[in-house]
Amino acid sequence: MNALSKPETGGILSLALVIAILPAFLPNSFYFDVVILVGINAIVCVGLNLLIGYTGQISLGHAGFFGLGAYFSGILVSIHGWPPLVALIAGAVFVGVLAYILARPVMKLRGHYLAMGTLGMGIVISIVLNQEGDLTGGPDGMPVDAFSVFGWEPGNELTWYWMVGGLLLIAVWLALNLINSPVGRALRAVHGSEVAASVAGVDVARYKSLVFVVSAVFASVAGSLFAHYSGFLTPSEADFFHSIELVTMVVLGGMASVFGAVVGAAVLTLLPQLLTVFHDYEMLVFGAAMMITMIFMRRGLVPTLQSAFNRWRK
């Protein structure tokens, strides 16, 4: 199945189709709201999956990058009056540079140490957002102005829907391009065997830094979108629980599967929202999802279903 990368063109078309026809089935703005959040989470997960699923490096702190992107937009736009698009790009550049600086020491770590290192990184970011009350409003949060590009504003849910949907498609397209290139192969080789990858000439440290930066930038952009969409930010966007949510989405959907990341984000964003009984037990839903995946389908939803389908076709 790994050998066949062709279905991916079909995959991106199917995703585009789903995005195109979905509005017809969404009865009211509550559902649009949920689906837009799915899209924002999915963008983060597509990036995070490059790091976790493809390169085999864990991060328990990616909500930190999401939060930084969100606050960067919030502060630059609402306090300093920057154009939102410029703030989004500036935030992405800042987060990219920060991730690059952090990558060298952090990505040297392996296994549990890497988990603890990235966990600490996320916690530090979340503490800073909490403590810098003058800038961020501290634990009370801060309001964020509406998004706009050259005077155009995505006024209602439907325009937001198209915007997030479009950006998700772009994110998926970029991730697929990367994976199906020598760069992506090098990342997967790092996952498979670091020593064999280096013997083949792959600069393991460089590729780990690269994918760390890319995944952080995806999270930052999604964070900026979220800031404008929700109109209000609290430091919980950057906290540990959010990081865990993101990792769970990647693992449930399927590691090393771009579409798995989208499906994982969809399932775990929808479940607590739609089954309101679960709402108070959100933690429990995530915990259960993680355990069930680990026990019954280690590779995650999409890869498991894909191999089942391939077997059935034969």
């Binding site: 199945m1 790994n2 050998a3 085999g56 397209w173 970029l174 697929l176 391009n177 990367l178 199906n180 290139s181 020598p182 760069v183 992506g184 192969r185 090098a186 997967r188 080789a189 996952h191 498979g192 065997s193 020593v195 064999a196 990858a197 280096s198 013997v199 083949a200 000439g201 792959v202 600069d203 393991v204 690269l210 090393a256």
Partner: protein
């Protein structure tokens, strides 16, 4: 002239002297075997030459350039490639992709063109895949071209490692026990392959326990024992060397 030269190399792990005061050189285009009992330091020597470990002291030269502390991924650019005694397969990839990684240095690995899926990247990928398939055919892995690495039998994986190493078009290929775990007919195929590789002008450094294989293919043999050089010479010289008979074959006799 020597292609690879090792001078006074030492490596110890804690109290264990895995390699002690080792010096030897390898003549280009030859098959150079390294033999010795278990724990003699053969794999450690490979790890020192390929930059996986840094020696405690001593130097390694490649075409008279000091490569002692050059990281492994840089050494690939010099044309040094190897296989592993404990297989290091990319089990998260297909067989062909494993071989394609071997070709990494000749592919276009710039980030932005890859991210935006430029057509030159796609074209390069097609060529890279064709080359990889060709190499798999050359080593007799054609029936695994459509396989995932994790569905291949052990013997085929050993060939896959060699195919991956050959994909980098190395100047020198280090093989760590390529015949271990293979049956006699597979071993004789390895024998053929090593000879074919050497005919292409690739220098081969072979670590192997199978004496029939070693005696048959080697231009030069280096015998290690407990990290030290015990003897060196042609197959004929080694066969007659009393130290080797005592230390190396003696182990076996006593073991029986």
């Amino acid at each position: 002239m020597s292609m690879l030269r090792v001078e006074n190399l030492n490596m110890s792990f804690g109290g264990v002297h895995a390699v002690e005061n080792m010096s030897f050189s390898v003549i280009p285009g030859t098959i150079h075997s390294i033999i010795g009992p278990n724990g003699a330091g053969k794999t450690t020597l490979f790890n020192l030459i390929t930059g996986v470990y840094s020696p405690s002291s001593g130097r390694v030269f490649f075409n008279d350039r000091d490569i002692t502390n050059i990281p492994t991924f840089e050494l690939a650019k010099y044309g040094i490639s190897r296989t592993f005694q404990n297989l290091q397969i990319f089990f998260n990839m297909s067989a062909v992709e494993n071989v394609m990684v071997g070709n990494h240095l000749k592919t276009d690995s710039r980030f932005l063109p890859a991210l935006f899926g430029l057509s030159s990247i796609k074209r390069g990928e097609r060529e890279c895949r064709e080359r990889a398939e060709q190499i798999m055919c050359d080593v007799g892995l054609e029936k695994f071209i459509g396989s995932d690495a994790d569905s291949m039998p052990y013997g085929a994986l050993k060939w896959l490692e060699i195919a991956r190493a050959l994909a980098s078009e190395p100047a020198v290929l280090l093989l760590d026990e390529p015949a271990a775990g293979l049956n006699p007919s597979e071993t004789s195929e390895i024998d053929d392959l090593i000879k074919r590789v050497a005919e292409k002008g690739i220098t081969v450094i072979l670590v192997e326990h199978d004496m029939k294989l070693v005696m048959g293919v080697s231009d030069h043999i280096l015998v290690l024992d407990s990290g030290r050089k015990l003897a060196e010479g042609t197959a004929e010289e080694i066969r007659k060397n009393p130290d080797v008979i005592e230390a190396y074959l003696g182990h076996r006799r006593r073991a029986r």
